[in-house]
Subunit: 188 residues, 2 copies
DNA sequence: CCTACCGATCGGTAGG
DNA sequence: CCTACCGATCGGTAGG
């Protein structure tokens, strides 16, 4: 049983590598089979479909963001501290599962229903909480910005970019720069 | 002759719409044919291959950025003015050819050689000039930042995000916010 | 987990 | 610009 689970997980992880490298649509199940050392048909003893692989990758990644956000959101700390922890969350996930988070960012639009709807709901919830933290900081007189939607989107883009930057920089340098740049955006 | 050119351009523009909507790999030549009102094989009287369509879209977009950057780079004005004009350049292109610029951003990695190399060279040149402008501003004491590579990438990500934001905001609002946020990042 | 195989769809060509 | 068609490849199944 342990072997079965870890074999399945190995297939999913390898799929994440391939989806990141070639994109979901340009990756064939034959590519994947070759890379895990199985005949193409044998893959289907472990997973149901190519579609399921993408769902698994995107939703497990979404769950990490959802749980991480919930933790931070519920803390009894300042908005600035929460933003700092959100940056840490993004970097934790990026350093832990770099391929998955890239697939999560770039290939989610190929998800099929009903998974697509769950995915978008999780995203929406993440966005709502993030914006509440920003608004909290503004009300406390700590943050200043005009259009919260634009500011949110730009910060999210900065954080998503950092997912791809982890090969070029070390963790501390990247975290320091991101903290400084995000704070610059949120200050007066 | 005019008809031939505009028919070809119509096919390219429709391809850009489809590549944006479904992604390059998930778009079939049959999808494209149906949307332009031709039989699949008739497409090939106007273009050589699916690959050529992507090249055409990406390279014509790259050219707009290259020419626009050259103009701005050569100006005898302050770095701050140049950055302001770069933001305008991105928005001009985004409002003019929204589908193409999205394909340019998201699908360029499916370009084949030798076009891929040209594309990457154009990008690299754009990056070099952009960084020189940032450095110029820093030397003049107008900009302040630590890591130029990180700052460049984050500004580029902000500008690329704006390409997708043109449906939600009007031009002036978006330009104003971008100016203000980019300047915040570059100020002390 | 493999051999053998399926129907569907792909990008593209021949020939008119 | 169309009809007719090609070889290649796709995701996936049957059966053991």
């Amino acid at each position: 049983m342990t072997t079965a689970i870890s074999k399945k997980q190995n297939i999913i992880n390898t799929a994440a590598d391939l989806f990141q490298e070639k994109g979901y649509n340009a990756t064939s199940m034959r590519d994947l089979a070759a890379k895990v050392g199985l005949e193409p048909s044998s893959i289907y003893s472990h997973i149901r479909s190519k579609e399921d692989l993408l769902s698994e990758i995107c939703m497990s990644c979404a769950e990490r963001f959802t749980l991480g956000m919930q933790d931070i959101f519920d803390q009894d700390t300042s908005a600035r501290k929460k933003v700092k922890e959100l940056i840490q969350l993004h970097l934790d996930i990026a350093f832990d599962i770099p391929a998955s988070v890239t697939v999560f960012n770039d290939e989610w639009r190929f998800l099929q229903e009903p998974v697509l709807t769950s995915f978008l709901e999780a995203r929406k919830d993440y966005e709502k909480k993030f914006k509440k933290i920003l608004t909290e900081g503004k009300k406390a007189g700590k943050f200043d910005f005009q259009n919260i939607d634009i500011v949110f989107n730009i910060i999210i883009k900065m954080l998503s970019w950092s997912h791809t930057a982890i090969k070029k920089y070390n963790r501390d340098e990247l975290e320091g720069e991101l903290n400084s740049l995000v704070i610059k955006i949120l200050n007066k």
